[in-house]
Amino acid sequence: MQPVDSFLFLLVGAALFCIGLTTVLLKRHAIVVLMGIELMLNAVNINLVAFSQYDPDRIQGQMLALFVIVVAAAESAVALAILIQVYRHFRTAQLDELTELNR
């Protein structure tokens, strides 16, 4: 079976990263911005895995992708906790309305 060309993996990773970056730049709701960050992390993981299949003995790319997944899970947990607390304080999750430090 002919394996998939790795160039296509890298292309999908680049497209996913750009879509995630646009989401982070454009969206106003804090949770959607977090989703954009997750998209960018997934794009990086695709790249790491695509290169890692040529390194079957040490698979350094897959190990790094594994740690990226774990750190992304921790980051998303803490960020959502902070977001819930921000919502309790300001009664909004729209980033453009969070303009004061102390209300």
Binding site: S6, L25, K27, M35, I46, S52, I59, Q62, A73
Partner: protein
């Protein structure tokens, strides 16, 4: 056959991500993110990373996405009682930044130019690594051995990081940590 599966999963990933970008509803964005994460898991399988695909499904789809949906529901501002006739009861709007027209232009410009640069770099780059043959074998035993030998220090560090992050997230989200306590009223 393999190419067909690859194109299907790649289309799932890209279309899901694009739907996250264009949808105006936060809850729909969370469900489209599910499509993207599943497509990414399929791509991992096609790149002979079976363990990572399962980890992706268990951690992202089973953990992070559920957390995100909980976040969406906990930060839902109920709409005013005047529009109870709204036909979309689950609608949580996620508008774009102020100055709608110009912001789309700026976002598309930044991301489009970045993608153009990446595309040109990828086309011109001639990775010597990519000309080697690839084999199909399960990576589970290799990952297990690597975690216990070469990556033992990052493994333990990540364990401590996860513990600290979960304890911190639980404390931060609990009502005991009131930020209003420090506010000057």
């Amino acid at each position: 056959m393999l190419q067909l599966a690859f194109y299907a999963f790649a289309a799932l990933t890209i279309i899901g991500a694009f739907a996250v970008l264009v949808t105006r509803n936060v809850l729909y964005a969370a469900f489209f993110l599910l499509l993207t994460l599943l497509g990414t898991a399929g791509l991992f399988v096609l790149a002979s990373a079976d363990f990572l695909a399962i980890a992706q499904i268990m951690i992202y789809v089973g953990g992070v996405l559920v957390l995100v949906i909980f976040g969406v529901m906990l930060t839902h501002k109920p709409e005013s009682s005047t529009d109870m006739s709204n036909q979309q009861p689950n609608r949580i709007p996620s508008s774009n930044r102020k100055g709608v027209g110009s912001s789309w232009v700026v976002g598309t410009l930044v991301a489009g130019s970045l993608f153009a640069v990446l595309f040109i770099v990828l086309v011109r780059a001639n990775f010597k690594l990519l000309n080697q043959p690839v084999g199909w074998k399960s990576t589970v035993s290799t990952i297990g051995m690597q975690l216990m030998t070469e990556y033992i220090v990052p493994f333990e560090t990540v364990a401590i990081l996860l513990l600290a992050a979960l304890v911190g997230a639980t404390y931060l989200a609990s009502p005991l940590a009131k930020p209003t306590r420090y506010a000057t009223r």
